[in-house]
């Protein structure tokens, strides 16, 4: 058992590499969905106080679209893909074949399309992850909410809050080449899953 709240630099690197491989694959999938080049940053792997997590996405009251999936398997956790409302609307216009700027509110079909994007991203993330670590994980059906960032992040933070005062997040930021779409992809392993992940890449 490793000390999950006190990881060594090598262990952090291992997690960053997992994030890199997974997010790289997810970014490729996203760029195919919206037919644009998608850049991503080097995943941020950090243990941060739970109350500071909403600041990562621009503050607790910022209006965002969040797609949430639970991850099942040997290293369970949560995936949360969040975007500013404008990015989600732009993407929906693309997916539905409407001119950009048409979407003013999301109808049932739009929500379903965005959830599908969540599915594709998580699937490609976890798939890459499987090839890298040989740990097979399955995402749940996605769920979507459009609301304040703080409220949306609650679902993830509450689970971590039961186990400690800090959250280990593997976060990647996506940005389309023309700035039309951006988003954050979070993998938040459950407490206990970090040990499995770090060991899977051969670092003890």
């Amino acid at each position: 058992m490793i000390d999950e709240f006190n990881l060594t630099p090598t262990q952090l690197d291992a997690l960053r590499e997992i994030g890199n491989v997974g997010a790289g694959n997810a970014a490729t999938a996203l760029s195919q969905v919206i037919n644009k080049r998608i850049d991503m940053n080097v995943p941020k792997v950090a243990l941060i106080p739970i109350e500071d997590v909403p600041e990562l996405v621009g503050g607790a009251d910022k209006l965002i679209v969040g797609i949430f999936l639970r991850v099942y398997g040997k290293a369970p956790g949560n995936i949360l893909f969040i975007m500013p409302k404008e990015s989600a609307y732009y993407m929906v216009d693309d997916l539905m074949g409407r001119p950009h700027g048409s979407t003013k509110t999301l109808n049932e079909m739009d929500v379903s399309a965005l959830k599908e994007v969540g599915n594709i991203l998580s699937g490609s993330y976890l798939n890459a992850f499987f090839h890298f670590t040989n740990i097979s994980m399955v995402p749940s059906i996605p769920s979507l909410a459009i609301d304040m960032a703080g409220a949306i992040l609650n679902i993830v933070l509450v689970q971590l809050g039961q186990m400690g005062d800090h959250a280990m997040v593997i976060e990647t930021k996506f940005l389309a080449e023309d700035d039309s779409v951006n988003g954050h992809f979070f993998l938040v392993p459950d407490p206990g899953s970090l040990t499995t992940l770090v060991k899977a890449v051969g670092v003890e």
């Binding site: 910022k62 304040m148 609650n154 400690g164």
Partner: protein, 161 residues
């Protein structure tokens, strides 16, 4: 313009008129406000979880209803409030994402609301207004000059409770 004091997640602040205490973006969390209408002092607590005894050891009592509420009561009394005059209002406790297999985690909003009311009752404090449940986020603020507790949402407008 009176001061606006920000209360983060798993935190609380106390103050007096004419300050306003505000906490942004509550989902399943609860914003518990306390107010003494005569002394015009009060507090706002943003809890995440119902019960510290069901969680691993934490260095932050403001994260839980059972440990956070008594702490805020003491601090409000230290500012001159009388416990017998204190009234509470609560808001939050939503379930943001719907899943068919509602686990305990999914229902944490409801459990948070129940726990807050129970702890307040145990401390002899009346809950005079409540806006809990639903599937949407809330921003809450208490105006310590009037005791008005404002609940703001994205799509459902705002109301004073």
């Amino acid at each position: 313009m009176a001061d606006l004091i920000k209360v983060g997640m798993a935190d609380y602040k106390v103050g007096r008129s004419p300050s306003t205490l505000i906490s942004y973006g509550l989902g399943s969390c609860i914003g518990v406000s306390l107010y003494d209408p005569q002394k015009k002092v009060g507090g706002l607590l943003h809890i995440m979880l119902p019960d510290s005894t069901q969680a691993r050891k934490s260095d932050n009592p403001a994260k839980f209803a059972d440990t956070g509420i008594p702490l805020m009561i003491n601090d409000v009394i230290a500012l001159g409030a009388s416990k017998s005059r204190l009234v509470a209002k609560i808001a939050g406790g939503a379930q943001m994402f719907a899943f068919s297999n509602s686990t305990d985690i999914m229902r944490v909003g409801t459990r948070n609301a129940e726990s807050c009311k129970q702890i307040l009752k145990r401390n002899g404090i009346r809950v005079i207004a409540e806006d809990t449940g639903g599937n949407y986020g809330r921003t809450v603020q208490i105006d310590l000059a009037t005791g008005v507790y404002k609940v703001k949402t994205i799509d459902r407008g705002e109301k004073n409770i």
